[in-house]
Amino acid sequence: MGEVDMSNAVEVTAPMASSDAARETKFHTRGVQVFYGEKQALFDVDLDIYENEVTALIGPSGCGKSTYLRTLNRMNDTIDICRVKGKIELDGTDVYSDKIDVVHLRARVGMVFQKPNPFPKSIYENIAYGPRIHGIATGKEDIDQIVEESLTKASLWNEVKDRLDEPGTGLSGGQQQRLCIARAIAVQPEVILMDEPCSALDPIATARIEELIDELRDNFTIVIVTHSMQQAARVSQRTAFFHLGDLVEVGETGKIFTTPQDQRTQDYITGRFG
């Protein structure tokens, strides 16, 4: 299984790389395996993530796409029984090596979660939290500026600028998720990982987040896990299809959805399973 998938992935990615050689590789992962206790959740995943574009990870529930996403900023470290094997490089440095401090890694690779999880603090404090702990800003003016910029980039500023002191938990679900995105942006990361960021939101809020993702692409590299194939098609430039812990196929989003190479991808996107 693993062998076949690997060749598949390489086949598809190879022309991509040559067609747009100018793009920098942000994450370079080879042979990623993840185990939860005895159970193997990911089998030899080889995937490259390119700078300033949106990579969507799709696949049926339990296929390992969230697990893969969480290896990129070592969020799996918080789960005791989880083990990760393989090579995961960010700008050429192995993120699992001793040289990398997980705190710095997560400052460079931000994350937005499935369910909006603002801290039970004011809107202002939610944004200021990251810059403060990383010492990005010290003075009140600096922080004010970061808060405004982050909220503006997350297209939330106009809605909340008059009530920055109110608790972040009082916002609507969609606003909370944009607050979480703003919170991630405030640390000035290079990559933003999004784990099904719209699954708890209504269609209008989802549309706003999708718009936002498209705008953020200019400044950040984005990896998004999504259950919705439409969403993957709308927001991403590249799509990776996971199935049962294998990376089945990866390529330009348009190609994946129109001319998939693998039968399983074909079945999934046409709705035969998943």
């Binding site: 900023n73 969020m75 918080t78 005791d80 705190v103 710095h104 890694l105 997560r106 400052a107 931000g110 994350m111 937005v112 979660f113 369910k115 999880n117 603002p118 801290f119 039970p120 603090k121 939290y129 990251g130 702990i133 990383h134 938990t169 979480c180 919170r183 991630a184 640390v187």
Partner: protein
């Protein structure tokens, strides 16, 4: 015809009622349970309740009123001249009669009149017991027959049984509430009597506590001073020392258990800490009085400090250890209740574990932690045994924890221990102190609950 025997008969009757009711319901439905309104066993319960409730009521009422009624009859039959004595004399005679009837030693010579009264006492008790037994049997059987007669497939036995059960539950909780109200009322009335003798202003703001009043008019003694401030100060001082111990240790161990400890360690440490709450306070008391206090005194001598052998410090330290589990266990629960998503959100921003705890988890859990502190403080204020043994009795108005102080609870104990008149200001002062204590702990508990509830709403 002992109480247990009658109770046993009653239970057998009730159980029999259950089976009779159940079989009757099946018979009435022609053997098909589906034709019945309720499941057959509900008809059993229906009959059992009909039999059990009135008979238990009869048993209870009869047992309560038997002795007074029998004694009234016996007393009424005593010869004229014996009735003329004063009430104390009368109660002595009744005591003799009771003792004679039950075969105990009597106080003096047995007169024929007393012997006759005792014989009558015995026979009355026997008759009464027999009558009780017969009445219960008759009522029980009659009730079973009546309830059984009512059984028909259309009888809504389940609804009636459940209504009755609900009534029983309500009665039980009402009893609990009424008891509490009764205790509070007795505190209030006795305190009122105290405040008739001593003004509330003097009691609440007076600086001298010396409750020894003259018992007889010719006695030379302290006139009594009821300024409770030294007691309040002593209580607060010891509670403060206790919280200085329990607060940090409890909270930090809660943080360790909730955030750092592996699951196995937590599973072992938490119950171990909770054992601290299960140690009888009297054991803490002698630990404080015999181990900690002398140790502190010796160390004090070594350092050139004058620490009395009964000190607020010793009592406070040991009490602090006792209330650690109140803080740690509750705080641990509260910290655990902070959603995992908040932790992940913080880690995802590159925060370290300690930053996450300090800036996200503790602020989120703060109301609950405050609640746990409040409960611990109210426990410390109400604690008696440790302070009785280790804090001393001297009502010193001092903020120095190295001296002996006394607390509200200790004074209540000393005021009421031993033979006391129950109408002097001295003993009544205990009720006033109790009332103050009750009000303070009640307020603390209400605040704690309000804070904890507010916290709960935040995540639901």
């Amino acid at each position: 015809m002992s109480f247990t025997f009658v109770l046993g008969a009653l239970i057998i009757l009730t159980v029999a009622g259950f089976y009779l009711g159940r079989s009757r319901s099946m018979a009435s439905a022609g053997g098909t349970a589906s034709r019945l309104h309720s499941r057959p066993h509900y008809y059993g319960y229906f009959v059992a309740l009909w039999c059990g409730i009135p008979t238990i009521l009869i048993l209870g009422v009869w047992t309560v009123f038997q002795t007074p009624i029998v004694e009234m009859i016996v007393q009424g039959n005593l010869p004229e001249r014996m009735l003329e004595g004063d009430p104390a004399q009368m109660s002595l005679i009744m005591n003799d009669i009771r003792n004679l009837a039950s075969g105990n030693i009597t106080s003096g010579e047995i007169t024929p009149a007393v012997q006759a009264a005792a014989d009558q006492y015995v026979s009355l008790v026997q008759t009464s017991a027999l009558a009780k037994f017969v009445l219960i049997l008759v009522v029980g059987i009659a009730a079973i027959a009546y309830a059984r007669g009512k059984i028909a497939p259309s009888l809504r036995a389940r609804n009636q049984v459940e209504k009755t059960m609900m009534a029983i539950l309500i009665i039980c909780s009402v009893i609990a509430i009424l008891t509490t109200i009764g205790i509070v009322m007795s505190l209030v009335f006795e305190s009122y009597r105290f405040f008739e003798k001593v003004s509330p202003v003097e009691f609440l703001f007076g600086l001298e506590w010396s409750p020894q009043t003259a018992l007889r008019s010719d006695q030379v003694g302290a006139s009594g001073a009821f300024g409770a401030i030294p007691l309040f100060v002593g209580t607060l001082l010891i509670s403060f020392v206790a919280m200085c111990v329990a607060g940090p240790i409890g909270l930090l161990s809660a943080i360790y258990m909730a955030e750092y400890a592996p699951l196995k360690v937590r599973g072992a440490v938490k119950p171990l800490l909770e054992i601290l709450a299960g140690i009888p306070t009297v054991v803490y008391g002698f630990f404080a009085a015999l181990t900690v206090a002398p140790f502190l005194r010796d160390q004090g001598t070594f350092l050139g400090l004058d620490i009395s052998s009964e000190s607020a410090l010793a009592a406070g330290l040991v009490m602090g250890i006792m209330i650690i589990p109140f803080v740690s266990s509750l705080s641990d629960d509260v910290i655990n209740a902070v959603p995992q998503s908040l932790r992940e959100g913080s880690y995802g921003l590159g925060a370290t574990k300690s930053e996450t705890i300090k800036r996200v988890i503790l602020p989120a859990a703060l109301p609950g932690i405050v609640g746990s502190f409040m409960l611990a403080i109210s426990r410390a204020i109400g604690e008696t045994m440790i302070v009785v043994m280790a804090a001393g009795l001297g009502a010193n108005l001092t903020a120095n924890p190295l001296e002996a102080v006394t607390t509200v609870t200790v004074q209540i104990v000393t005021l009421l221990v031993g033979d006391q008149e129950f109408d002097s200001a001295k003993t009544l002062a205990a009720f006033a102190l109790g009332l103050v204590l009750f009000c303070v702990t009640l307020c603390l508990n209400i605040i704690a609950m309000a804070v904890v509830n507010k916290y709960r709403e935040q995540y639901d």
